[in-house]
């Protein structure tokens, strides 16, 4: 959510006509600006903010800020942008002006106000709330996102994208991943037939028999979380593909599985705790500073060796799916890779290997690393563009369901 100062200023300037028209209108305008810079704000939040103002002395700027912030912002990432918009929007208004407006509001003669501006803001607010509820409905019902990316975008290789395209693709990725995840979770609930006895309900039902158990009540098997571990090669050109994959997998994350993310090149780092939010690219920027050897060559065998010793014990169970993304070029000892793949395979449920090189038509896994790993893989897929991610998503659906 990076917005330039110019964008913020111009958004604020659009609403400069609102001054002197009452606090609620100012708040509505403020809310609209926040929406324009990417913070989701609803009408009810703005109204609550307005109600909250009655409880504080709004001439105190910091209290005023705290009131608005606690009502309008619901996540930590929104805090810095909120502060910038707040400072920009309210800086020219002395808060005494605002408090005078509040008092005047109750006794103002409405006919003196410029009718056009008043109506248009209120209309806009109404339209907003109607739009919001429609949007929410839409998001529920559509299966594929209706953003205006064309077919060619779906096929474009990740490594060829510029910043704008990357951003668009990231949004698309999240949207698709969410759809897929929701579908899986719904399907699971419907499909799971009762095959386990529910002791509580059984007793409940049998009270009428005076305590003899005659009717059995069955229940759905409690869905246990599958765990997915991403092992991402982030050396050189693999970096770009890994980023998109991480974005995708985090979009998929829901009640069905927990995701651990581990990056490796010449050494290995667990970065799950660093990637908490949906803004993956920002998090990855932060990480590349702290992960050693981010763009050296790759030592896959060595990295798996470290993984098996440091993390596998606590993270990998027979239900775990391991997803490795790498081009297979191992600069280190290939025998080590062979041994470690065998160890890993014994512990986990399935291993999926994603290789962007698979997309090129003449590719055959000729490099030694890939040949050595191949026998241990349950699935070998490409991951070079949006279409391939969609395929991956569908595959995971079947795997987890």
């Amino acid at each position: 959510m990076e917005y330039s100062d110019e964008a913020v200023f111009s958004a604020a300037a659009r609403f400069s006509a609102v001054r002197g028209q009452g606090t609620l209108k100012n708040l509505l305008a403020f809310g609209r600006i926040l929406k324009q810079v990417g913070i989701k704000v609803t009408l009810s939040q703005v109204i609550d903010a307005s109600r909250s103002l009655e409880f504080v002395d709004i001439a105190d700027k910091e209290d005023f800020r705290a009131v608005l912030r606690s009502n309008l912002i619901s996540e930590r990432e929104g805090l810095p942008i909120f502060d910038r918009v707040f400072d920009c929007f309210w800086r020219d208004r002395s808060l005494e002006e605002v408090s005078v407006e509040v008092q005047a509001e109750t006794s103002e003669d409405k006919s003196q106000e410029p009718v056009g501006a008043e109506e248009s803001l209120e209309q806009e607010a109404e339209q907003d709330s109607i739009q919001e509820s429609r949007q929410n409905e839409e998001e529920e019902s559509i299966l594929m996102p209706t953003y205006s990316l064309n077919e060619s975008m779906n096929k474009k290789d990740f490594s060829e994208m510029d910043t704008e395209e990357s951003r668009a693709i990231n949004r698309a990725i999240l949207l698709i991943a969410t759809k897929i995840a929701t579908q899986v979770s719904r399907r699971k609930k419907r499909a799971a037939k009762g095959d386990e006895i529910d002791p509580r309900w059984t007793m409940r039902k049998n009270i009428k028999y005076g305590g003899e158990v005659i009717d059995l009540v069955l229940r759905k098997r409690r869905i246990k979380k599958t765990r997915v571990i991403l092992l991402c090669d982030v050396s050189g050109s693999m970096d770009c593909y890994s980023r998109f994959l991480i974005q995708f997998m985090y979009g998929l994350q829901n009640e069905l599985w927990g995701i651990e993310t581990i990056v490796f090149s010449t050494s290995l780092s667990r970065i799950t705790h660093l990637i908490r939010t949906k803004n993956i690219s920002n998090a990855l920027e932060k990480i590349s500073g702290s992960v050693l050897g981010w763009s050296g060559g790759t030592k896959i065998g060595r990295s798996l060796y470290t993984f098996n010793r440091a993390f596998a014990l606590s993270l990998v169970t027979h239900r775990t799916v391991i997803v490795i993304i790498s081009d297979g070029w191992d600069r280190g000892d290939v025998d080590l890779l062979d041994r470690e793949m065998r160890i890993l395979k014994r512990r986990c449920h399935k291993i999926i290997w994603l290789n962007p090189l698979l997309a090129s038509e003449n590719y055959e896994p000729l490099c030694k690393g890939m040949q050595v790993a191949l026998p241990y893989l349950d699935l070998f897929l490409s991951v070079h563009n949006l279409n391939s991610l969609i395929t991956l998503g569908r595959t995971l659906q079947k795997l987890v369901a």
Binding site: T42, D48, E62, V67, S70, I73, G210
Partner: protein, 306 residues
């Protein structure tokens, strides 16, 4: 403390009396939450005082604290109520033995006496002159379905138990939700609440916290600890230590009669601050590689000179 006549300053002072250092923006949000009857969602790293403030608030408001801990797999029954089936069964059996009135028993076993009340029901049924503080801890550990259920409860504060009827809250509890941000809370629930992010404290704030909780500690030691914590939180540890760890550490150092910080003492007591083997190893590496240098830190930090 009465709800009327409450101000932001009074809350801050009352919390301070209970040894909780609270900055004005947090006090403002707490004040709003109480005055408006809107739940408060506190997010932040582990160990920064989210759960603590609910406990302290209940002391300040002189009311009961009902604590509800969330976990994975939590469902509505665990939160609300359950019938005491074994007790009901026994009652029925007893009646059979006596050859008594079956029908009367059936009514009886679905009365409040046979109801196991769980925290949310307790919060709704609570009577007393002041509403209780309902702490819903670590909501991020529960799943989305539980959130939807919670949203309903927080809107109406009423529950319908089919055999008994609808129970409405006479006094709406003060609701505080906490989250460690291990996953995103659903928008609908977030918007229902006032939001506040509690960050790690500044050097000054942490120093104040230490001196308030442990007035007997040497000022220099407290400052050294604060400098260390500030530095460590910027480094790449798996689990960064929070204020809870700082206070544990101070307590340990006092017990061991240590008056200042050096590498030896650090090594002895590191278990108070870092609880993961990876982190302990990482710390040793950083100390050995001089990327974390205690002496240098002490010399260079301007705050320690003051």
């Amino acid at each position: 403390m009465n709800r009327k006549g409450l101000t932001i300053e009074k809350i801050q002072q009352a919390l301070l009396k209970e040894k909780y250092i609270c900055d004005r923006s947090l006090a403002t949000v707490v004040y709003l939450s109480i005055s408006m009857g809107k739940p408060l969602l506190l997010e932040g790293e582990a160990g920064v005082g989210k759960t603590e403030i609910a406990k302290v608030l209940s002391e300040v408001m002189k009311t009961r604290l009902i604590r509800f801990q969330c976990y994975e797999g939590l469902d509505a029954n665990t939160a609300l109520y359950e019938w005491n089936y074994p007790k009901q069964m026994l009652r029925i059996k007893l009646e059979e033995v006596r050859r008594g009135d079956r029908e009367a028993v059936e009514t009886e076993i679905f009365s409040e006496e046979y109801l196991i009340k769980r925290p949310l029901l307790e919060a709704i049924q609570s009577d007393g002159s002041t509403p209780p503080v309902l702490l819903i801890d670590e909501i991020d550990r529960a799943d989305m379905e539980f959130e939807a259920f919670l949203l309903e409860i927080l809107s109406d504060f009423q529950i319908t138990i089919p055999e008994i009827g609808t129970i409405r809250a006479k006094l709406r509890p003060y609701v505080i939700l906490t989250s460690n941000r291990t996953r995103e809370i659903h928008d609908a629930l977030k918007r229902r609440c006032l939001y506040h992010w509690i960050d790690y404290p500044t050097f000054e704030k942490e120093y104040e916290i230490i001196m308030t909780r442990f007035p007997q500690v040497r000022a220099l030691l407290a400052k050294q600890i604060c400098a260390f914590m500030q530095r460590v939180r910027q480094m790449n540890f798996y689990k960064r230590p929070g204020v809870a760890e700082t206070l544990d550490w101070v307590s340990a150092l006092i017990t061991l009669n240590r008056e200042e910080l050096n590498e030896g003492i650090l090594g002895e007591t590191m278990g108070c601050v870092f609880k993961y083997r990876e982190d302990l190893n990482h710390l040793q590496e950083e100390l050995a590689g001089k990327r974390l240098d205690l002496d240098q830190m002490m010399k260079e930090s301007p705050k320690l000179q003051a």
